[in-house]
């Protein structure tokens, strides 16, 4: 495939403190995102999903692997050349309160990327375009001249989305765009993202720890655990018959507003996370919490294998449960 985004064997390391051992936040991740496709990436905090977002946008260096956009390798580009690419690759951040400069009005913040990335526009044209984008996300002109602290969380996140759209990008990475919002507002923003993506034909990498939201918005979903992808499947398949035990744990963890069901699920989840023994064994990273772990799992890292039409799993025992995971003992 020549278009779209392609990640091959990406690894990113962090040094958490002076003299501390480097931590591999992302370990050998590969996936592809076609033009106009929306791909969901789900996992908990610390699994490396935000790091992947930053690596794609050139904010952190790769320790290993490649990032290709439209068939060209971009992770090794010098800063100046990468800057030209920023017109096509944009990012929607998690906390709208933090990612907008408190000293700039909303309109100024939205127009800001146009300065560097679309220098053909003069001040007036930039301002007009900013207002256009703000209208597209449902913010009135009156709000455009306010400061971030005067707007609510939902309005701020709309402004952040408007800013990402200002340069007419082709790929937008959304890094936990709903996590900082109230539940009743999350739906508004999720629907907005879905609508904009459809209208503009954008490619989108949607990252979240909330499987329900990711599943609703995406066509395909990647599940990450401790820096690796453990399952990748089309949305319906993943939700209906997940093959990796961690995916099932995530499915079970989706909040339930039915009290009876909630309490049963609670017990199951508790048993799952209570199992926690040695970390850092060479085998599967999930082995300490997996109800189905066998000896092989402790010593050998399961590769991400193509299980069936587009369904990839990293589990030694996936073949055993073709019809879905058995109930836990």
């Amino acid at each position: 495939m020549s278009g779209g985004l392609r990640i091959r064997d990406m690894a990113v390391t962090y040094r958490s403190g002076a003299g501390a051992a480097p931590v591999e936040a992302v370990q050998g991740v590969s996936f592809a995102l076609a033009d106009g496709e929306i791909l969901g990436l789900v996992g908990e905090s610390g699994c490396g999903k935000s790091t992947i977002a930053r690596a794609i946008l050139g904010l952190v260096p790769l320790a290993r692997g490649t990032v290709e956009w439209q068939g060209r390798r971009i992770d090794t580009l010098p800063k100046e050349r990468f800057r030209a690419l920023r017109k096509e690759l944009q990012l929607v951040f998690q906390d709208p309160n933090a990612c907008l400069d408190p000293r700039m009005t909303i309109a100024e913040s939205v127009a800001e990327p146009l300065r560097a990335l679309m220098p053909e526009f003069d001040t007036g044209a930039r301002a007009a375009r900013a207002r256009e984008r703000l209208a597209e996300v449902g913010l009135t002109d009156a709000l455009a001249d306010r400061y971030p602290h005067q707007l609510s969380g939902g309005q701020l996140q709309r402004a952040v989305i408007a800013r990402a759209l200002a340069v007419d990008p082709r790929l937008v990475v959304c890094d936990e765009p709903l996590s900082a919002l109230d539940v009743s507002i999350q739906g508004q923003i999720a629907n907005l993202i879905g609508r904009i993506r459809r209208e503009r034909g954008l490619a989108c990498l949607f990252i979240s720890h909330n499987l329900a939201i990711v599943a609703r918005l995406s066509e395909r979903v990647l599940v990450m655990y401790r820096g690796r992808i453990v399952e990748s499947a089309p949305r319906d398949t993943l939700v209906a018959s997940p093959l990796h035990p961690y995916t099932r744990l995530l499915v079970d963890s989706v909040p339930e507003a039915d009290p009876l069901h909630a309490r049963r699920m609670l017990e199951r989840r508790r048993r799952a996370s209570a199992r926690r023994r040695d970390l850092g064994s060479p085998g599967c990273p999930f082995v300490a919490r997996c109800p189905f772990a066998v000896d092989r799992c402790r010593t050998l890292l399961p590769p991400l294998r193509d299980f069936s039409r587009g369904h990839l799993v990293a589990c030694h025992r996936a073949d055993e449960w073709r019809d879905g995971l058995p109930a836990e003992r």
Partner: protein, 323 residues
């Protein structure tokens, strides 16, 4: 049977340049061993309600009305609330790990709280502290005793914070968003722990959260707050299955569930929660309500009893709660 905690007409005001009313007249009752959850979004006043009860409001906050714990008024005099903390009411904050003093050892901090129980010697306090660390399932409690907070992981600090809240054997545990800052798969552990602790120590629980899933798993009764008022209150079983207030119904619908058949738009409530301090001539929820009618714009609906529940709405979705 007098309730263990009785809140009557509680009003919380904040002064200063952005003066506003965070809580506008709340009545609640909590019986011994009961578990009540208060649900609301940003600006609902739920956290301020909790803080006001135990006298932990910010310097520019003022609480009026009545909060009675075991019959004793907590809002007056000024030192009534501090006396009740520790052995009367235990408090777990949202950033639980952050509520530990960084430069003192875990054991010291626990013992200090334990000693608020009258008639306990230093040796007893130490024993109690160790016992509580075991109860919160902290691995190897004896060696953790001498450690500083930064030497523990986030999850362990959370448990220590819980232990701190409980070591003086309070009769009620106040928990402010105990699961918000932690991973979804670890939430289950914490919730079960809280449930077990309440059971084992015979405590009542007053839980503040925005997460209906937590409410469903932990609470017996739930009060829904919006813009500083309680808009609906009832048993968890009936309220979550048959909500009467449109806001409650909207919240329930907005909880994202796994799509069972393809994608679909997420349900949402139009508009956004009002800025704290906004004045409303009628019902506070009216601007966002799909059921709003004429009286809603001009008359503020009172919180009325309806079956075993209470609702503040001119057009409740169900009349009379199913038991």
């Amino acid at each position: 049977m007098t309730p263990l905690l009785e809140v009557g007409g509680l009003v919380v005001d904040f002064g200063g340049p952005r003066a506003h009313r965070a809580v506008d007249g709340v009545d609640l009752a909590l019986a011994a061993h009961e578990r009540l959850a208060i649900v609301g979004e940003s600006g609902s006043g739920k956290s301020q309600l909790l803080l006001a009860c135990v006298g932990l409001l910010a310097a520019n906050g003022r609480a009026s009305g009545s909060v009675r714990f075991g019959g004793r008024e907590l809002l007056r005099p000024a030192d009534a609330a501090p006396k009740v903390r520790g052995s009367g009411i235990g408090f777990v904050f949202q950033d639980a790990g952050g509520s530990l003093t960084p430069h003192r050892r875990i054991g010291e901090q626990l013992a200090e709280v334990a000693l608020t129980r009258p008639g306990l010697s230093a040796a007893d306090a130490r024993a109690e502290s160790l016992a509580m660390l075991e109860r919160v399932r902290l691995p190897d409690p004896v060696s953790q005793f001498a450690k500083y907070p930064h030497e523990l992981s986030g999850g362990m600090r959370q448990r220590v914070a819980l232990a701190l809240a409980l070591v003086a054997r309070p009769r009620i545990l106040f928990a402010d968003e105990p699961t918000t800052a932690i991973d979804v798969t670890v939430q289950a552990e914490v919730m079960t722990l809280i449930a077990d602790l309440c059971e084992g120590l015979g405590m009542a629980l007053l839980l503040v959260t925005h997460d209906l899933g937590v409410v469903a798993a932990l609470a017996d009764r739930v009060a829904v707050m919006y813009a500083g008022r309680v808009v609906e209150e009832g048993s968890v079983a009936s309220l979550l299955s048959r909500p009467s207030h449109p806001y409650t119904a909207g919240l329930l619908a907005a909880v994202p569930a796994l799509p069972d058949a393809g994608a679909g738009e997420l349900a949402t409530i139009a508009g956004q929660p009002p800025e704290p301090g906004t004045r409303f001539p009628g019902c506070r929820f009216e601007p966002r309500c799909t059921q709003a009618g004429e009286p809603c714009r001009s008359v503020d609906p009172p919180l009325d009893a309806m079956g075993g529940a209470r609702v503040a709405c001119h057009f409740p979705l169900h009349r009379g709660a199913a038991s």
